[in-house]
Each structure stands twice: as structure tokens, then as C-alpha cells.
């Protein structure tokens, strides 16, 4: 189960957009294996009859009225941008395609 390969870690790093070095991949492959072994016990008790819980306090139908609020001015939004053209955020060329 917890036999994690370096290739798998490389793939995960790609999914997570982190350009891990080879050394990091090697270390993380070992660590991830140990960690997954340590946490594997959850599968033993997670029987089909147990429902999953994703929210600690059960609430429902939490809504907001359809009224404008909280707008921030463009200059403030752009102030922290690594690069912008005065009204839009600027990024390097995109390799992939629109989703």
C-alpha cells in the first residue's frame, strides 16, 4: 500500500506545482512511505457502515443576500502583484490550454 516510488512523488510534485529537486524527491519518497505506513491504520476502522464527516459542526443552507459588498479597488488589488499592466495581472506565457 505504502510502496511509494520516486516516480509517483515526481508526479505528485507536478500536480502540486512544486519543482522539487532530485534530492528532495529521494528524501520525500522515503518519508512519504513512512508517513503512509503510520497513517494506514485509519483504513482498518473506516468500515462501510461509518459515514464520513467533513464539517465538525453540522450546519446547512448558509447563504448571503445578493447584495454588492467588500469590493476592493483595482490599485489595491494590483499593489501586491509581482507584475501588472496597470489594470490586469501579468503572467508569463502559458504552456497549457484553457480548462
Amino acid at each position: 500500500m505504502s510502496d511509494i516510488s520516486a516516480e509517483q512523488v515526481r508526479h505528485l510534485a507536478n500536480l502540486a506545482r512544486i519543482d522539487l529537486s532530485d534530492a528532495e524527491i529521494a528524501t520525500m519518497t522515503t518519508e512519504l512511505g513512512q508517513i503512509m505506513e503510520a497513517v494506514a491504520s485509519v483504513q482498518a476502522v473506516a468500515t462501510p457502515d461509518v459515514p464520513a464527516t467533513s464539517h465538525p459542526i453540522p450546519l446547512k443552507n448558509v447563504y448571503r443576500a445578493d447584495v454588492v459588498a467588500d469590493v476592493i479597488p483595482t490599485d489595491k488589488a494590483l499593489a501586491s502583484a509581482p507584475e501588472h499592466d496597470g489594470s490586469r495581472f501579468k503572467v508569463s506565457a502559458i504552456l497549457g490550454e484553457e480548462q
Binding site: 446547512k60 443552507n61 445578493d66 454588492v68 467588500d70 476592493i72 490586469r88 501579468k90
Partner: protein
């Protein structure tokens, strides 16, 4: 974009059965966004309709827009869906610069609406039932502008600019089940299906539904099944299809392209394809791969949507008539022939004619104006602002004709002036003195003058050659600058000729 080798459409249909599926995204026209209180406006200056949540700023959180939920439930009901007792949001994780948080809040295993059905009527009158698998709520992404390179496309661009005004705009994604049996009509069905969804959301008043603005976007799945086989083919998903006409063309293109590949012994790659309006072709996008591992998980920042049954019933009661039902009713009410009615439907003029009839015109008169002269004017104006004529104005115009104030020819002249924004038909008639001359005295004077100017014609008429009157009528109409009722002039010409 080079076109792929395409098989003749009829031949493709001989060899293969097309199987379709659609994912239509509808942008809801709420005042604010799906999960943030930013304005949901089209066409604002870049990055002005934004809150910390739209930008995915650290610490920001989403809160669901109640109105968007109501709209979504209404849409689900209009699609004949069951509204889920409990539905929930999930995060769809992938990195893209137009996606501020690098995850999209969507619905995954618990959509708000499931198991619907939409009746789609084709131009040839055939009716196809399209099953809806689900409709779910999600948020739109921002808008990228690619700069540099030759085409403004993503390929070859030097850099891209991101505007997050659209980020977080409420969307409902409507997913059909697999559609079989469309056969030869597959492209027309594609177009008619999207048009039906458009009509539904317009009738509900929940979306501006302008495809050219991206309010309504269609991804078309196409696969081919060899005749005699029960094995489904590999499907492609064509995106970027931004008009009804393109939907039809894109589906036709994919059928022809795939058929040719299969006939040549090739295989279809499961991939996303992009439609290019200019070339009328699709091009390969990225192949589906494990990079499509979206790592969905329940959105911890949002709670389940558990609509009160009373709310669902309230919204159900407020649903407008289904487009298909409405069409059937109108056709019967108006007494149009199949051909006349199809013409109206295909021209998208149902509402205009309905309103014109409501304003007092007969259905036939309304049809005649809208599909005739107004369509001609609109065509001529294409590319500019378009034309602005209201159903009330058309009804008024017809009334002027019916009461004898205008001839058909004069009415056309008035219509042009209405289209030019010069006022209502009555105002224009008055301002330009265009009304028919109904004073017999003035007409008789003009007739007598014309008859005396053409004694040979007078003789012919007296001899019973009534058709000769045409020349006199023409002269009279000319003298009256067209503002006379030709039928009345004819009557009077014959009367005077006999008397002289």
C-alpha cells in the same frame, strides 16, 4: 488551421452512428457572484468587480449567494430534474492563472439537480427527448488575454494578462446523458438543444444567455459507433463553441473528421478539441491524462444546500411555460402552416410575434412584418447597431394600414423611419405627411387631369379595355406622390372614364 481530411457527411452516416453529449454552462444574471459579494457585471473595466474572495487572497472565504441557489433550483425544475434533498460543494483542484485559488468550487458527487429531460424540436419538425444527467452549481474563472505572437491565441504569446472580473460569476453546468438516435440530424439537434436551453433560461429570466458574451457556452461530445456494432467509440470534447451555428458546424465537422480517421483505419484519441470559428475546423487540445486528476474533495468552507420543500414548490409554481409547450400552443393559436411556423421559430421571432399580436395585430400580419420587411432591414443593418423596432410599433403600423391611412408601400417607408429612430409610426406619418390621400375630390381632380392628358387611354378604357387604366393610375399615384390608395384610385378612374 489546416482542415483535417473529412469524409462526406452522408457517407459518414452510412458507416457510423453519431453519439452525442453536451455540457452547457449557463452564467446566471444575479447581481453578485456565486461565492463573493462582488458585482456580476459584464463589460466593466478590468479587475474592478473584485473582492478578496474573487482574487483568492490569503484568508478569504466563500459564502453562497442565495439568489444563485434559487436560480439553479428553478433551472433544474425547468429541465425536468429532481432537486436533490441535500447537495454540496466540492473543490476541483487544478492550477491555471485564471483560477484565483487554483481550485474551482463546484459540485461533484452531490449536484443540486439530477435526472431531467428536455424536449428538443428540430427544424424539420422532429422532436427529440434529451435526457439530462445533472445540473450543478459552480463558479466561472477569470479572463485571460494573450499578448504577443501573431494571432492573440495562447500559442506563441509572449505573456498573458488576467482580469478576475468574471472569476466567481455563478454558473450552472447542465450535463446530458449520452444521446443516441439523432442520426442524420445530429448537427441540427446540437444546435436545437443549445437553443432550447437558451430559450429556457431566457424564459426563466436567470441569464442574459448571450453566447457571444460567453453567458452560454457549449462543450460538445461526439463519438461514432460503427453500424452493426454495439461498442461505443472514443469521444472527443469540442470546446470554444460560441454560437448556435458553430455548435451545428462543430458537430458536423467532428462527425466527418472522425469518420474519415476510422475509415482510414486510424483511432480516435480521447481529447479536448477547440473549435475555430474562422476556419470552421477543430484542432487538438491536450489529451486526457492523469493530469486531469482534479483531487475533488468536499469544500470545507461551505455547508450543504438543503432546500426547503416549500421553496422548491414555490419555484415550481412560478416556472414559465416550457418552450416546447409554448410553441405548440402558439402554433395552434395563430393558425400558421407548418412552414410558416418553422420559419418563425428558426428566425427566433416567437416572442416578437407574440408581443405584436398582444398589441393588437393579427398573427399573420405580425408574421409578415417580422419575417419580411423587418428581417430585410435587420439584414441590411447587420454589422452596425442592428435595428430597434418594438412589437408595439409594428402593431401600430399595421393598424394604420388596416384603417387605410397607409398603403403597404407607405407602411414600408414608415417602417424604415421607425428603424432609423424617427419616432412611432403615427408620429412619422404626421411629421412627414405620409398619410394616404383619402379626399376623393383631390383624387378626381388628378384623375381628370391624367385622363385628359392621355385621350388614347381614355378611349381604350371606354372600349372596355380595363387593364389600360394602369397607365392612368400610375400617373395619378405619381401626382399624389404615392400617398393614395391604388385600389381607390382604380375605382375612381373607371368611374370617371365612364362618366367622361
Amino acid at each position: 488551421m489546416a482542415k483535417a481530411k473529412l469524409m462526406d457527411y452522408d457517407k459518414a452516416l452510412e458507416l457510423f452512428e453519431p453519439v452525442l453529449g453536451f455540457e452547457v454552462h449557463v452564467e446566471l444574471s444575479t447581481k453578485t457572484k456565486m461565492f463573493s459579494a462582488a458585482p456580476n457585471n459584464f463589460g466593466s473595466e478590468p479587475n474592478t468587480n473584485i473582492t478578496p474572495t474573487c482574487l483568492g487572497l490569503p484568508g478569504s472565504l466563500p459564502v453562497v449567494n442565495e439568489e444563485a441557489v434559487r436560480y439553479s433550483i428553478s433551472l433544474g425544475l425547468a429541465l425536468g430534474c429532481e432537486i436533490a434533498e441535500s447537495s454540496s460543494f466540492a473543490r476541483k483542484n487544478y492550477f491555471y492563472p485564471d483560477l484565483a485559488k487554483n481550485y474551482q468550487i463546484s459540485q461533484f458527487d452531490e449536484p443540486i439537480a439530477i435526472n431531467g429531460n428536455v424536449e428538443v424540436e428540430l427544424p424539420n419538425g422532429r422532436i427529440v427527448q434529451v435526457d439530462i444527467e445533472r445540473a450543478h452549481m459552480e463558479e466561472d474563472a477569470g479572463k485571460l488575454t494573450h499578448v504577443g505572437g501573431s494571432t492573440g491565441r495562447i500559442q506563441g504569446a509572449e505573456y498573458s494578462l488576467v482580469d478576475y472580473n468574471r472569476a466567481g460569476v455563478p454558473l450552472v453546468e447542465i450535463v446530458t446523458r449520452m444521446i443516441e438516435g439523432a442520426e442524420h440530424d445530429a448537427p441540427e439537434l446540437a444546435k436545437a438543444y443549445v437553443a432550447t436551453i437558451r430559450d429556457i433560461v431566457i424564459a426563466l429570466g436567470i441569464s442574459d444567455a448571450k453566447m457571444e458574451r460567453g453567458n452560454l457556452r457549449c462543450d460538445a461530445n461526439v463519438s461514432l459507433r460503427p453500424r452493426g456494432s454495439d461498442k461505443l467509440g472514443t469521444r472527443t470534447e469540442t470546446k470554444n463553441v460560441n454560437s448556435l451555428r458553430s455548435v451545428e458546424r462543430a458537430v458536423r465537422y467532428e462527425i466527418q473528421r472522425q469518420a474519415q480517421i476510422l475509415a482510414d483505419g486510424g483511432t480516435i484519441i480521447q481529447e479536448t478539441r477547440h473549435w475555430h470559428e474562422d476556419t470552421g475546423a477543430t484542432s487538438a487540445g491536450r489529451p486526457k491524462s492523469d493530469a486531469d486528476d482534479y483531487r475533488y474533495f468536499p469544500e470545507p468552507d461551505l455547508l450543504p444546500v438543503v432546500p426547503d420543500p416549500a421553496l422548491i414548490e414555490e419555484l415550481r409554481a412560478a416556472l414559465p411555460e416550457k418552450p416546447a409547450d409554448r410553441r405548440r400552443r402558439l402554433k395552434a393559436d395563430w393558425g400558421f402552416t407548418d412552414l410558416e411556423f418553422q420559419d418563425v421559430v428558426n428566425s427566433g421571432l416567437l416572442s416578437e410575434i407574440t408581443e405584436t399580436v398582444a398589441a393588437g395585430a393579427t398573427p399573420q400580419a405580425a408574421r409578415k412584418w417580422w419575417t419580411g420587411e423587418i428581417a430585410r432591414l435587420a439584414n441590411a443593418a447587420e454589422g452596425d447597431e442592428g435595428i430597434d423596432i418594438s412589437p408595439a410599433q409594428v402593431a401600430e403600423l399595421q393598424q394604420l394600414v388596416d384603417e387605410g391611412t397607409l398603403t403597404d408601400r407607405l407602411a414600408r417607408q414608415v417602417l424604415e423611419a421607425v428603424a432609423a429612430g424617427e419616432g412611432s409610426p403615427r408620429e412619422i406619418v404626421e411629421a412627414q405627411g405620409l398619410a394616404v390621400v383619402s379626399d376623393d375630390g383631390a383624387l378626381i381632380a388628378a384623375i381628370d387631369e391624367a385622363l385628359s392628358a392621355q385621350p388614347d387611354v381614355l378611349e381604350k378604357i371606354k372600349d372596355g379595355k380595363v387593364q389600360a387604366a394602369g397607365a392612368v393610375i400610375g400617373a395619378v399615384m405619381k401626382a399624389m406622390q404615392g400617398k393614395a390608395d391604388a385600389a381607390r384610385v382604380r375605382e375612381l378612374v373607371l368611374e370617371r372614364a365612364a362618366a367622361l
